[in-house]
Symmetry: C2
């Protein structure tokens, strides 16, 4: 049986994406951080790990990118990618009025994605960040007090004054007190999707269409980034993504993540990567993997 | 008198950076979000606004970048930049033991920057995100209960079980109950600095050394990014920074922020920007501003 580690807790978007790819027959293990998902895979406690890498509204998930920077010698390689449409709901106790709400809990990415809607419909509510959308819904059930102007003691925030943002499934969970939760979709005109990486040990089987992810540091001189892109242009390799991240060794020094179309074993990709080495101080191939492939235990 | 809006509350890193640049004689107004700082400037309620743009360990402050994307017609221009060394402290009630701690509160950036130290020294403590480091310290003083396995009611988290991460100054603030707080520096071998933007209306005076920030969308075709960098290389213009952000209109479509050395009125910068237009569908100059200049009311 396949074991899949994912960024949990249960019922988060990562869980739903993992379930869709690996199905009901795999064993699922949730981990509280991206770091923990990588460790599950490195210690062979999971065959695959699923972590978010990018959202179409909020951009890169920097924890995931930085895991490749901080542990450059990891045997973990990218095995594939998943895409998941995100549908946020406002989850509240039943029968409340939006104008009563004082606090909205959610993961920072969800709060950021719903910012314009919240500004318009619940401008009075304070936004409070939680570690996951699942935790936000748990917070609806907790006792909560807060300091308020003109009070010497913290005052209780009533359940009817609180909301969470998350998937509709979260409202259907059984949670400690038997209060009923309702979920109302938050309208989103924009294209809200999250891309996830599947990570694992070893090399994935080559697919029909493939993608390669690399990480590199540039030599410090003018025109360095331009020069680094020349080998791709010359070998007609399409770049689907470029992302810069701080090196963390020296302020305002950067590393670059690039996703390119093609497999590392293809001659023109090999040639481009070989040429790229002239401009880099470090170059790491994070994985060559099929676009949209299925996974089975080898 | 100069009025300066900044991302608050008081005693945050942004406040300290603003004070250092504009001095004790300016009037300071704090705003709860980056959006509110921009609005203060747009409504002429502040002459300048100070917002974080980038940290040397955690990378871009995407809220600030996205404000330029979401309000492309804003009259606000970048007027200058500031840099501030970040020194995090662990703030607790006096006389506690690290091994007793159950929760550590802080801003997500501060939690992320101290991740390795927290993993090693307080692995048992849950990390809870707050809107600012100042709010994290306030949380030390609040009553807090949480659900725990084997309990039917939420149980209280004692003051001695809680810590916050923030500047040492925050421990010296007067806060509701008269408990004493102590601040112990969290050692950091890495170069931890934050860069802030000063924003305002109109064009800043040209300095000796200048920088120009631009935002653009590329035409969708292979080699587009390479081609867009050619004009800079050809005109010997050094790029100090490139950052990609989602367009938010279509999934996996990106916009690029570039910082370059030179002023928009210089011939080679003009030429490069003119040539760049051939490869872009939109190009916005966010500001040409002196590096390290002082500010006075015009």
């Amino acid at each position: 049986m396949l074991t899949v580690g994912y960024l949990g807790p249960e019922h988060t978007n990562t869980h739903v994406a993992a379930l869709k790819r690996f199905g009901r027959r795999a064993r699922y293990v949730h981990a509280p951080t991206v770091e923990d998902v990588f460790r599950l895979v490195e210690r062979r406690q999971a065959d695959y790990g699923v972590v978010p890498i990018e959202n179409s509204l909020e951009g890169a998930v920097t924890h995931t990118l930085d895991r490749f920077i901080d542990f450059v010698d990891t045997p973990v390689k990218i095995q594939g990618e998943l895409e998941q449409r995100i549908r946020h709901c406002l989850i509240t106790h039943a029968g409340i009025d939006l104008s009563e709400l004082l606090v909205v809990y959610s993961h920072p990415q969800a709060l950021a994605q719903c910012r314009l809607w919240l500004d318009r419909h619940i401008p009075q509510a304070k936004r409070e960040e939680t570690n996951s959308t699942a935790e936000a819904v748990e917070r609806l059930q907790m006792q909560e007090k807060r300091w308020s102007v003109g009070h010497l003691e913290p005052i209780a925030v009533q359940p009817s004054q609180r909301a969470a943002i998350g998937r509709a499934e979260l409202a259907r969970q059984r949670l400690p007190p038997e209060r009923k939760l309702t979920a109302v979709p938050i309208p989103e005109a924009r294209d809200n999707k999250t891309r996830f990486l599947i990570v694992g040990l070893g090399e994935p089987r080559k697919g029909g269409r493939n993608k390669t992810s690399i990480l590199f540091a540039l030599k410090d001189r003018p025109g360095a980034l331009h020069d680094a892109l020349v080998p791709f242009k010359r070998n007609r390799i399409n770049l689907t993504k470029i992302e810069s991240r701080p090196s963390k060794r020296k302020a305002w020094e950067y590393l670059f993540f690039i996703d390119l179309e093609g497999h590392g074993s293809e001659p023109q990709v090999k040639k481009a990567l070989e040429a790229l080495k002239r401009y880099t101080t470090a170059l790491q191939v994070l994985g060559s993997y099929p676009v949209g492939a299925r996974f089975h235990r080898a």
